[in-house]
Symmetry: C2
Subunit: 472 residues, 2 copies
């Protein structure tokens, strides 16, 4: 064993123990044509790092199962938690080339540069959140490469594997595509001389990790909600049609049955539907969601009611726990509170720093766009309530034995912060109201009318998507 | 809305708030032929329970992806955590019938009664761990059933779904199979009269939950490791062939290259390999694992190095965190410490009650059997060490600047409990040494010999499985 490499391995191992202790998530990407030496390099690194916090992720051509999910879904699911290291053997880049040259999901994607935008947004939000992303591109001279392949082919036990190598993406295409991708963020390594390549890999890895550790130690955390002194807004002064009591029962049922039909149509057309609920406490989110789901086929939807994060969730990027629950094609996911907690409760309570919640608007827009790009319908509802009406409902909950569990000390504490939540909600809606993922502000002082309003809106948006027509 | 049903819903909701607070995991199974009313019943229950801790799980015919995993894999993955409720729309029972009548995986399974044994073991270990499993079988008269189906067919948006209903398992076959399954653990409900059926469902659910809550409150927890006063064993007095220093390098490389070939052969034949490492601290598990994996293709194996459980893991059945990481077909999973922690550290430290660790031997045997049934190779290594040799290695670690991170206060504390670990290890090996999942005791005072021993054993067992021959 080369003494120089051995010393580099020791140093790399030591640094990763430090980055682990500091809680820095590290993502190491290896790209390169088949038989270029990626396996040897990744394996050397893998054996050097501690298996307790190192994960090896091999990217393969998408299976039928994968195709039911978003382009980046597997990478969201397997994001490293704080202090953990992912080694990617091929990554979202090879995945992108695979999508592009094989025109995967072409009916929904059409323009594959969207996927490059997604990759850019994905990496940027992770980097801003303190993830260290190190990218290697491995080259080799063609003669050496053929030697590797022939070695594999000579052995009957590995021959089939050698053949598999060339099937997914033709080598020349992969090379040409990568030339357009490579920029200064990539470390290009030539594997023709093996020891030299390993040495270069460790040197770059060490330099990057040292820098990341240094930056991590210098990070500051400013806890500031940045609220106005006398905030006022008329954003929430919206009128809706009041539904008469005697009309409600028939109307809600008709809408629910229509929505059930649309659920089947969405399923058949493989369109995912994402419904997000936010709003003031006691605005009636639960009851509203109940009316939406009441006649849906339960095998095709899920309600994700957000509680305080677990320690595992706190140790990941804040979007991780939502990303991994996004619906597969044709399914419906209802979020009772959502990723918008980042700019609401986390801003108000100081759980996120000023820098974190300030950049979250843009991150969330990019995040939702990823699903919209693949044909998803994303609709967001904000249920508003008059402050006096909230008080009335809180008291009602306290007095009714079957509702007492719904009211907690926390609700009263949040009520004291009414103005802060109002401002945070105002900023959220104005900054994340996108044509492809719109907010609907729903006055919920009159619960029944709010339910009708939401049902009509969902039906309208689904019909538009399905048939390009508007019925209501 | 029927007043009686409304009262039952309120009561059910209240009881589940109590079972949630107490941390009781609840699993509610619904089986019945297509269009029998399962959807209506499960949906009524689903809408009654709190979405924060209720999950709806629909069992479908296995996809290509599912077939790469163990029969119960999806059910392991989605086990409810403490206080959570799973509603199963079809379950492991429909899954079993699907496997049996379509002869799924027939080359490895052959005898489908094995799957019934697995189901029995699965339910039993969950129940003993405090999971409440409530099973409903829904019947309906055939005329009513045809009415339901015709309603679906009349609507062009749901017509395709109605047809899908009958395709997976023919109704008569499903019925006949279920007649052999039904026993007193099942509550059979006739859906012909809808309101009566809903009422029966809630009444049974309430009765079962009340009983579960009562039993939960009466549970006792005896913390006892049950150790002998002067424990002695010669189980660990094993001799192995000492490898000469000058022979080692060539021998280990030859074995590693052979193992790499076998990895490809296992992959091609879709045989999963599960390697479990246990042993005394500083016995050299890490170095031994390193030699096993050194030449393997990293895209086909994973090392799972077990740390202290997260809070999410602690809130699940103890086998959950291992089950969800078991390898898919053709892959290798190496466990550096494992589920045997239940009968080692958890017994010694009192993290598991006497009742819990005592029944774990049988549970673990049944657990490993589930993968063996589907053709997996399960090999378990116990690395033993002389007590003086351990002291020498501990001191060496403390003195070597690159190894200091490997030695902690905990290692010294464990060393004080040497005899307890010895007895726990002895009991573990004698009670879980199964022909289909054998233990190999490996004296590790001489690290190099231990590595050769393990490599040879893995190769031998893989060759036996692959070609029925023994080469070493």
């Amino acid at each position: 064993m080369n003494k120089k490499i051995e010393a580099l391995q020791l140093k790399a191992a030591k640094l990763t123990r430090e980055s682990h202790a500091l809680g820095i998530p590290v993502m190491i990407v290896f790209e390169g044509v088949p038989a270029s030496g990626k396996t040897r390099l990744t394996n050397d690194l893998l054996l050097t790092l501690d298996a307790k916090y190192t994960q090896f992720i091999a990217t393969k051509t998408p299976s039928e199962h994968d195709l039911r999910f978003q382009f980046l879904q597997n990478f969201w699911n397997t994001l490293p938690s704080k202090g953990h290291i992912n080694i990617y053997f091929r990554s979202w880049y090879a995945h992108f080339i695979d999508y592009k040259i094989h025109e995967i999901k072409k009916h929904t994607l059409k323009d594959y540069s969207k996927l490059q935008d997604e990759i850019h947004a994905f990496e940027t939000m992770l980097q801003k959140d303190g993830h260290e992303i190190i990218k290697f591109y491995i080259q080799i001279n063609e003669e050496k490469r053929q030697e590797h392949i022939n070695q594999m082919k000579e052995n009957p036990l590995t021959n089939w594997k050698a053949q598999e190598y060339e099937q997914v993406i033709p080598t020349d295409t992969y090379k040409a595509e990568f030339e357009a991708i490579l920029d200064e963020a990539w470390k290009v390594i030539d594997y023709t001389k093996r020891d030299h390549a390993i040495q270069q890999m460790y040197e770059h890895f060490i330099a990057r990790l040292e820098k990341a550790i240094q930056q991590h130690k210098m990070r500051t955390y400013e806890k500031a909600g940045d609220f106005a002194k006398n905030f006022e807004t008329d954003l929430f002064n919206v009128d809706i049609q009041k539904v008469k009591k005697q009309e409600y029962e028939d109307l809600v049922l008709a809408l629910q049955l229509r929505l059930r039909e649309l659920q089947f149509a969405l399923y058949e057309r493989k369109i995912p539907l994402i419904l997000v609920y936010e709003g003031m406490d006691a605005a009636g989110k639960g009851g509203n969601i109940k009316r939406v789901r009441e006649y849906l086929d339960p095998t095709g939807y899920e309600v994700n009611a957000i509680s305080a994060p677990t320690d595992v969730e706190l140790n990941h990027h804040y979007l991780w726990r939502f990303a991994k629950d996004m619906p597969k094609s044709g399914h419906i996911e209802i979020f009772d509170r959502s990723w918008y907690g980042r700019v609401l409760v986390e801003r108000v309570e100081g759980f996120a720093s000023k820098e974190e919640w300030s950049r979250a608007y843009e991150e969330i827009n990019a995040f939702e766009k990823m699903w919209v790009n693949e044909g998803a319908i994303v609709l967001k509802f904000f249920l508003t309530l008059d402050k006096d009406e909230q008080l009335k409902r809180f008291k009602d909950r306290e007095e009714n034995v079957d509702k007492q569990w719904k009211i907690t000390e926390e609700d009263w504490r949040n009520r004291e912060k009414w103005d802060l939540y109002l401002e945070a909600s105002h900023d959220m809606i104005t900054k994340t109201n996108q044509p492809h993922a719109p907010w609907l502000i729903v006055p919920a002082d009159h619960k029944k009318s709010a339910r009708i309003e939401v049902l009509k809106y969902i039906i309208q948006k689904c019909e538009e998507k399905l048939w390009g027509v508007q019925r209501y």
